[in-house]
Structure formats: C-alpha cells, structure tokens
C-alpha cells in the first residue's frame, strides 16, 4: 500500500493554497489597523534615524553659544538648545540612541527572559533558584541598581542597556514562565515526552514557540519602557552620557528651561510619545496577527 501516484493537480493546488494563504495574511495585516499604524510609525522613526545625516543640516554636537535657546525657525526647524545645538538634528540622532537602547534592551531581555523563564518552568529546582533571585531583584530599588552599575562599569551607553536589562528581565522571565507552565501541561508536550524527546527538545521545540505571543507583547512593552527609563536615568544623572543625544537627555536638558523654551521639551517628547505608542500598537497588533487561533471561532 505504498505511495500512490500524486494526483496531478496536487502541485498546482499547493501553490494556490500558499498564494491564498499569503494574500489572506496580507489582508489580515491590512485589516489589523494596529499593526498598520504602529508599524508605520515605527518604520518612519527608524528610517529617519537611519537617514539622519541626509535629513539634517547640522551635526547634533555643533555648538554655537551665541545661538542658544532660539525658537524654531527656518534654519533650526525645532529651535536650538542651551548650547545652541540644533534640536532637530539632536532629536533625529537621538532616535538612533533611544531606539538602539530600546531595541537592544528588548532583544536581550527577551532572550534572557525566554531562557530563564523556560528553564524555570521546566525544572523545579531552577524555578526556586531563579524565582528567588527574581524576587530579590524585583524587590531591589531599580534606580539604585542602575546608578551602581553605571558607577561600577563606567558611564557608557552599553551600561545603560545592561542596567535596564537587569531591571526588566525578571518581569519578562516571569511572564514567560507562567505562559510556559500552561503550555507545559498541554498534551502535545506530553506527547513529545512519550516519544522520548530530550528536555532540550521539548523546551525549545515544543514549549518555546508557544510562549512567543505573550513574550512579544511584553517585549514591545519593555522596548518603550526602556526608553522612558533611560530618560529617568538621565534625570538622575545616570543616563546616556552626553553629548551623545538621546531623547531622554534632550528632555532632561529641556526640563530646566521648560518655561522659556518649550521646543526643547515638546519635540523630543513628541517623538518619544510616538515611539511608545507605535511600538505598543505594533506589539498588540502582532499578538493578534501571529495567533491565528484567536481568529477562529471556538471549536465544539
């Protein structure tokens, strides 16, 4: 009873199905307003950050002390700051730093959180150890951690990232862990075990793909939160070491002149807000998108 000859139209059919699936996917993406809007915003910001040298006339560092705190005008579209630097270029270059911080924190916490969460959910002993450490870290005042890390390791952007990663990872790990605990009880995990799959395989091939949904949502949240944290760290003097512009330290510089130079706060603030909004929309939308089951009506 071996393989019968494939029906001739199977190949054609396969292509059609793939095409149809793709078009359905595209339709779903379009239908999902959150993804479109959020993705659009993020794309725009990212592109302008990447194209920063092309769209700005000034470097973000050029000082012009006589030109300090000039309101927006034809040469300085967003005005100048307290050093006479062009805010537009600082905001656009600042997007690089802020997005880089957000992105690297999101990626690293995502990976770490996934790793810790997965193993904690799988091994009871590790669970106790990891979760006690997580408890400890969560109970730890995060600002202290950040300042201490910056002080110990030196004021570099990478250390800002490390500090925020340490603060944010326990939360992500917990989310992954609780999702994984649910997935772990699913029959298909048991099925894999019944076949003798190794723990490694079960964890990474069966459980992990199924905790991605909450992870993605959490990561987009971390992405935006870390940009805000970076700003707060600037406020406490432990942020991205200037003169490197970041939205956080532009905002902080602007804070003291908020009554006289609104443009120093409004523009970076607006960009920060847009990025946070965009990434959250994108995250929520992606959740709906990558989870086809959520679109299906319930089964019997």
């Amino acid at each position: 009873m071996l393989a019968k000859v494939m029906e001739p139209d199977v190949a054609v059919q396969k292509k059609d199905i793939a095409k149809e699936r793709r078009s359905l996917f595209i339709r779903r993406v379009w239908a999902n307003k959150m993804v479109v809007i959020g993705g659009g915003i993020m794309l725009l910001i990212t592109l302008s950050a990447l194209a920063a040298p092309l769209i700005t006339q000034f470097t973000p560092y050029d000082l012009e002390a006589v030109n300090r705190l000039k309101p927006p005008n034809a040469t300085h579209w967003f005005g100048t700051d307290n050093f006479g630097r062009d805010i537009f270029s600082r905001v656009v270059y600042g997007a690089r730093v802020s997005l880089a911080v957000g992105l690297s924190v999101a990626v690293v916490t995502g990976l770490l959180g996934l790793f810790i969460g997965m193993y904690a959910s799988y091994y009871r002993v590790l669970d106790h150890i990891f979760m006690r450490i997580a408890d400890g870290l969560m109970a730890f005042p995060s600002i202290l951690l950040a300042i201490a890390i910056m002080a110990v390791m030196g004021p570099k952007p990478i250390n800002v990232v490390i500090a925020i990663v340490i603060v944010e990872t326990p939360g992500v790990a917990r989310i992954v862990r609780s999702a994984a605990l649910v997935v772990k009880e699913q029959t298909y995990v048991e099925a894999a075990r019944a076949q003798g799959a190794s723990s490694w395989k079960i964890i990474w091939s069966h459980i992990a793909p199924n905790v991605l949904t909450p992870l993605i949502v959490q990561i987009t949240y971390v992405f935006s939160v870390s940009m805000i944290i970076e700003a707060s760290l600037s406020f406490l003097g432990a942020g991205i070491p200037a003169p490197e512009p970041s939205w956080g330290n532009i905002l902080y510089d602007g804070k003291s002149v908020i009554q006289t130079a609104w443009w120093m706060t409004v523009f970076p603030g607006m960009f920060l807000l847009l990025a946070v909004l965009g990434s959250n929309l994108l995250g929520d939308g992606l959740r709906d998108l990558i989870d086809p089951q959520s679109h299906q009506t319930k089964k019997s």
Binding site: R132, I133, D135, G136, M138, A139, F140, P141, S142, I143, L144, L145, I147, A148, A151, V152, S224, V225, I228, A231, S232, F235, L236, G248, L251, Y252, K255, I258, Q259, T265, G269, L272, L273, V276, L277, N280
Partner: protein, 316 residues
Amino acid sequence: MKIYILQRLLSLIPVMLVVAIVVFFLIHLTPGDPASIILGPDALPEDIQALRKELGLDLPLYQQFFSWFSGVLIGDLGDSLYLDMPVLKAFTSHLAPTLSLAILAQLISIVIAIPFGVIAATKRGTTVDQFFMVFALLGISIPSFLLGLLLILLFAVELRWLPAAGYQPLSAGLWNHLKFLLLPAITLGAIQSALIARMTRSSMLDILSMNYIKTAHAKGLKEKVIIYKHAFRNAFIPILTVIGQAFGTLVAGAVVTEVVFNIPGLGQLIVNAIQRRDYVLIQGTVLLIAGTYVLINLLVDLLYGIVDPRIRLNRK
C-alpha cells in the same frame, strides 16, 4: 492559614539573603567613598583616610560584611553614616510619606484605570476602545519628571491651586497632607493607570467570553449587572496582581517623582544615600524595602482569598 503565613515569612529569608549580599558587594564595589563625601569636595586625602579608618572602611570587605550582617541577624541595622540616626529610624521616618503617596497614587490609578479598562473591554474594537487605550498609553509615554514638572507649572505656578512641592505629615491635617501629595500622586497614577487599564481590559475580555457570563445573560440580567457584578469580580484577580506589583514598586520608591516634588520618602532617602555613599543606610534600607515588598506580595496573595473563594486558605 497561620502555617501558610509562617511559611511565606520563612521564604523571605533567602530573598533577603540574596538582597543583602548583592547590595553589600554592589555598593562596596561602587567607586565613591562616604568619607570623602562627608568631608566635602575640597577635603584633603589625609583627612579622608582618617575618617575612613574611623568608619571602619579600611577593613577587608568580607570582614565588613560579616560585622554588618551579624548585626542584621540580631536586628541591628546600624547607624547611618551621614544622617545622624539609626537606619531603622531613617527608614520608618521616610516610609510614611512614601506609603501615603503610594496609596493615593494607587487609588487615583484605580479610579481612572478600571472604568477605562472595563469600558474599553465592553466596547472592544470600537473607537471608544481605541481612544481609551491610546489615552492609557499616554500615561506611560511621558517620563515622570516631565509630567511632574508640567503638573507643577499648571496647577501650582499658573493656577495656584496646589503647592509646588514639599510634604506635610498627616498630623498637620488631612487636607494639608493631601494637597502636597495630590500632584505627585497624579504623576505616578498616570503611569500605573496605563498598566492597570490594559490589564483590566484584557482580563475583562477573557472573562466576558466565559460560559458563566452567558449563563448570566440567559438569566435576563442587565448588561451593567453582568459586567460589574459577574464579570468584574472575576476579572479583578489578575488585576490585583498588577496592582500588588505596582504598589510594591511604588513603595520601593518612586525616586524621580519624589525628587521632583521633594517628598521625603524612601526614594529620596535611597538616592541621597547613594549619592552620599552612605553604605550602612543603603544596605539597611534596601533590605527593609525588599522585606516590605515581599510582605506586600504576601498581603496581595492573602487578598486573593477574599476576592476568589477558590483560593481561600482556611478551607479544605
């Protein structure tokens, strides 16, 4: 029940140990030296050395750790190097403003967030839903130092409704107490309410698709009754977790907000302690904050039992 609480309290020990070790070595490895801070920027090296010796900072690190930790074990957290008081006293005197602020902020965020979340959930997919959720997002998109400052400029400097900054204890009268806390509480509440509103929405959505909601509809109940009496109480359980955690972080110190509004709370205590490298105070405060945090979580867990009969501890 008692045994359970006891077990939970025992589980505090490893957490505290982790925190103690981390904080001690973190802070001692951090450059900066309490002696030179106390003596000021123009102090001479000899003076600083002398003070270091007096404060016991010249001993090997492990020796310092053990002498500190053995004190902690018998309940002696030591005296602040900078503030002229025992750590415990510094902690308790800074706890009250923080607690007041945290409670008020939490109340504000709950009052805003829960209706937002519930309405957004019941109107899922509509413009109302999207509007509320975007509004909630605004709360987390503005750094708190900025939001705080804007509130000060609007309500204190422009409108003169509320004081710009500072703190009055409850003993100075309720209104006196509250008027200083209102703006910072709104600042913090805005952030928290964003989180809580989102959680409320998704939790409500889960519950609204439950079978017992259908049962309630089939009984002929009004929509409002179903949402608030049947759905909300069930949806509240995960919300409670978020609230508990949020409260925990608030108590651990809303550093930035406390600095902006000059509230003498734990956040300021710890930031000042860090800036002054007040080792003993940092160590002690962090330990106590961690303890408080764990206790709050325990409290939240016990609250679960009240909200959800399935988790009542004293029943079989």
